[in-house]
Amino acid sequence: MEKKLKVAALCNGTVIDHIPSDKLFKVVSILHLDTCLNQITLANNLESAKIGSKGLIKIADRAFAEDETNKIALIAPNAKINIIRDFLVVEKRELTLPNEIREIVQCANPNCITNHQPVTTRFWVLNNDGEIMLKCHYCEREVKRDEVKIK
């Protein structure tokens, strides 16, 4: 019972659940929630049977589109998205990694043009024999998913 009281119920909006605790503020930044004027509830270090310790975000009166929330698939692939209307979950969805990732990743190659000039980064998501790699659209270097630097 006490667990439920920790986060107030949402009337309308989006709930992002099962965010790994150490990725919560990255998610905030990727979705630009730091400049969003809606009511936002953040919770972190909640107990989770699945991932041990999780974060959770509730954004009131805003239903995020799929291509917006998929941006966080790179860092929180197991996060769950719930769209709420009149206190009811009207849509539940999982994240899918898009084919192209813009802006949020920094190229690991120090000699890449994107690290020297005001260029929006672009990466192609590749599957090399089961291993997810990101290939820079500009310098064409590939990095493994878990070695990616988030801006």
């Binding site: 000699n111 000039q117 064409e140």
Partner: protein
């Protein structure tokens, strides 16, 4: 892509590659014409590369076009802090196409995205140098009569040498067999071996340069650079072992030709120069015709 820029060899299909080589042969037969009359081509060299710049500029001048540009970033507005975006926009007010060399990887792709006129990549850091790749292909085609089913030995710095990486990509259309010969420090990176396996291209890998080229059609040499080595004693050893000598060519096929992107240092002994199988100087000359074909293609002239 909104314009016809050439940034990477992978931008061109097999058909486009073959049509460039066809057009280069035509320019070789008659390199002096007036097809670029009234056109202005900018050569923006943010880092010096005399060989490539002179080749492009000669290609344009022999077709009747004019050249503007700079050969060193120190004399350009980028030394005042102008962004690449602004330089490209400014130059595109004056020129019909831009040939660009830049020390940063990805600079050419970015320039092609912001430029209203076509960009020809003349080298972006250690990434791509497609006109070199096309002139390598032209040299192979000219000396072998075909690009199909050839055995190609790549020798030297296979780790950092962008010319060998692009050559693998470009040759993948033509069923090659590769031999990679490199010291352990400079072995072919995994991603290119994965590429070969995915495309069913057979390859073997050895670390010593021996005289075993009996089945080879093309021997592609590259420079082993001192700055790539942590251990300078190792460099001295490799430098002496990785020298191609005339005697090593004794039992090779009559059609074998030796290619090198130049400049060479010690990796080809001068005694090889007189061998009719040495093709590296002619290879450089082929660059002129291939660059005439490239500039004409990006301007939709041929």
């Amino acid at each position: 892509m909104s314009n016809k820029s050439l940034v990477s060899i992978s931008d061109y299909s097999k058909e486009e590659i073959l049509s460039i080589l066809d057009s280069a042969a035509d320019f070789e037969a008659n390199p002096n014409r007036k097809t670029l009359d009234g056109k202005v081509i900018a050569t923006l060299f943010f880092e010096p590369s005399t060989r490539t710049r002179l080749s492009f500029e000669t290609a344009v001048i022999r077709l009747g076009g004019s050249i503007i540009g700079f050969s060193d970033a120190a004399t350009s507005s980028s030394s005042k802090g102008e962004t690449l975006n602004d330089t490209i926009h400014m130059v595109s007010c004056y020129a019909d196409a831009i040939v660009m060399r830049h020390p940063l990887e990805g600079a050419a792709r970015y320039a092609a995205e912001v430029s209203p006129v076509p960009i020809v990549n003349a080298g972006d850091g250690s990434n791509q140098h497609p006109s070199q790749t096309l002139l390598d292909l032209y040299s192979i085609l000219k000396t072998q009569g075909t690009l199909e089913n050839l055995t190609i030995c790549l020798v030297g710095d296979l780790k950092y040498g962008r010319t060998v990486h692009s050559l693998i990509m470009a040759m993948s259309h033509f069923h090659p067999t590769f031999k990679f010969i490199a010291p352990d420090e400079l072995k072919m990176p995994d991603e290119y071996k994965v590429f070969c396996r995915k495309n069913s291209i057979p390859f073997t890998e050895v670390s010593e340069l021996s005289d075993n080229f009996n089945d080879t059609d093309i021997l592609y040499m590259t420079r082993v650079q001192k700055e790539r080595f942590q251990d300078l004693m190792e460099y001295e050893r490799v430098k002496n072992v990785y020298t191609l000598k005339n005697a090593m060519l004794e039992n090779t096929k009559p059609n074998l030709r030796i290619l090198h992107p130049l400049p060479r240092v010690t990796e080809i002994d001068p005694d090889v120069d007189k061998n009719e199988k040495a093709y590296y100087f002619r290879q450089a000359q082929n660059g002129l015709y291939v660059r005439q074909a490239i500039v004409s293609k990006v301007l939709n002239l041929k």
